[in-house]
């Protein structure tokens, strides 16, 4: 199944909200890349990763085209989940599916083509590293909180979808441990595209796509020039995380916050 090995994904430009062509030639993404997608609210960030998820072929509102290994991807990439090379965690934090966590994960495992594997335990325990309140496998999907749903979907993308490319839409805003998520994603060697409003998550990526008015406005490659900013942000983030945990645990914050 050598055609299933992804060497590269290419984004070809479409049009912005006024119908004007986007200002880039192509964006290439290879396994192991981490790319953040930033820009004001409504600037088309989610639309961009949606295009990648469905391998748009000038048939979405943005008119972009997505190539795999330099050509139009075969049909089964799109229509057969077992062979689809991308997994996407949408901005949605609710699951409408009226099944228990274990039934949902089993059925998803089957749809991804793994017949006799039981990935439920592993997936739930990975998800529980991302969320404060542990998920039980017998609870219904519809009863999970936003953060629990998001955590479970990330773990599902890593272990069950197990695709070379993962697209994440605003991991940070469901109150989950975002550094643990990013660390886990890196540990499993995925190409990652994050849509994010979070400065730390943005600085953690190798490239940054800046969106404006429905189109890609810039592609930045810092090449290490942001190292000191990143170090500082990590320190701030650790401080904020610590205070957040204290507040969650019901403590009074009476000492100065280190920065």
């Amino acid at each position: 199944m050598s055609e299933n090995i992804i060497h590269e994904i290419t984004i070809l430009p479409g049009r912005n909200r006024n119908g004007e062509p986007e200002g880039f030639d192509e964006i290439r993404i290879k396994p192991g890349d981490t790319i953040s997608i930033v820009g004001p609210t409504g600037s088309g960030k989610s639309a961009l990763i949606n295009d990648i998820e469905i391998f748009a072929s000038r048939d979405t509102i943005t008119k972009r085209q997505i190539l795999v290994n330099g050509t139009t991807p075969p049909d089964h990439f799109i229509r057969d989940p077992a062979r689809k090379p991308v997994a996407m965690i949408t901005q949605n934090t609710r699951c409408l599916c009226d099944l228990s966590v274990e039934d949902f994960l089993c059925m998803h495992t089957r749809s991804r083509g793994y017949r006799d594997q039981d990935l439920v335990e592993e997936t739930v325990s990975l998800a529980n590293q991302f969320t404060g309140e542990a998920i039980r496998r017998t609870v219904r999907m519809t009863q999970l909180s936003g953060g629990q749903t998001r955590s479970l979907m990330v773990a599902d993308a890593i272990l069950i979808s197990n695709t070379p490319i993962i697209l994440l839409d605003e991991v940070e805003n469901a109150g989950i441990f975002k550094n643990r998520v990013i660390e886990a994603l890196r540990r499993y060697h995925k190409a990652l595209l994050f849509v994010t409003h979070d400065p730390l998550v943005s600085l953690l990526s190798d490239r940054r796509i800046v969106m404006h008015d429905g189109a890609v406005a810039k592609v930045l490659t810092p090449n290490g020039s942001e190292q000191s900013a990143l170090k500082q942000m990590l320190a701030y983030d650790a401080a904020i995380a610590k205070v957040r945990e204290q507040i969650r645990a019901g403590e009074l914050i009476t000492n100065a916050i280190p920065a």
Partner: protein, 234 residues
């Protein structure tokens, strides 16, 4: 000429999908028939939007799928008389036991990704006899959920082709359009038959008797407990 029969529960996105089909195939001549129970405005909307010939019928006292079956041959000659490349028939899809698909046609069932994980089971006959399932509103669910929904449909018909779409934008419909272009032609409308046998059910409720309780009716009747069906003669 080719015949496309689109079925599915109310408001799942049948007309939205049909709009995308017509939009994607500008070089073909479409004719459209809507079968509904109470109100339908699709015929006027599609006629205004695409300048195509349209018609609607209200099924009145008949099950809408039964009404569709009755008028199908007339509809085919109407469409053929207009020189249509495609006749699209949109069903009302209320009766989830009947399936309106015929031979010499492409049968498409439209389901909504947000109508519940059990909905495919509840409309099993409509899925089992269709050639393709189009799942709409995938813009509102996560990818994993979409894939689980797909698995549910496969559980009812392992051979059905499934496409997922945001029918408002028309994403993901390439495969559907190709299937439509390559779909079966109507070779002889006199020999067209239904793909399945519709459930039999004639009772005095069907002809307008409003009393409740099986004791007040004749024909095929039912009790709360006991045997499945019972024929009660006069």
């Amino acid at each position: 000429m080719r015949l496309i029969i689109v079925a599915g529960p109310p408001s799942t996105g049948k007309t939205s999908v049909i709009r995308q089909i017509i939009r994607s195939m500008p070089n073909h001549r479409f004719v459209y028939l809507k079968i509904d129970v109470v109100v339908a405005t699709e015929d006027e909307e599609l006629a205004a939007e695409f300048g195509i010939a349209t018609k609607k019928i209200y099924s009145g006292d008949l099950c809408p799928d039964h009404a569709g079956i009755m008028v199908m041959e007339d509809a085919i000659s109407w469409a053929a008389g207009l020189g249509a490349d495609y006749l699209i028939v949109e069903s009302a899809g209320l009766c989830l036991r009947c399936t309106p698909y015929t031979t010499q046609s492409l049968g498409i069932v439209v389901l909504s990704a947000v109508s519940g994980i059990h909905s495919p089971v509840k409309m099993a006959p409509m899925i089992a006899l269709a050639d393709m399932a189009v799942v709409t509103r995938v813009d509102l669910v996560t990818q994993a959920e979409k894939e689980v929904f797909r698995e549910r449909i496969k559980g009812i018909s392992s051979s059905i082709e499934i496409v997922e779409t945001n029918a408002i934008q028309g994403t993901g419909l390439r495969f559907l359009i190709r299937t439509i272009e390559e779909g079966p032609e109507v070779t002889d409308s006199k020999t067209i038959t239904l793909r399945g046998i519709p459930p039999l059910g004639v009772c005095t409720v069907c002809i307008g008797k409003t009393s409740i309780g099986w004791q007040n009716h004749f024909g095929v009747v039912r009790k709360l407990n006991g045997a499945d069906y019972l024929f009660r003669g006069e």
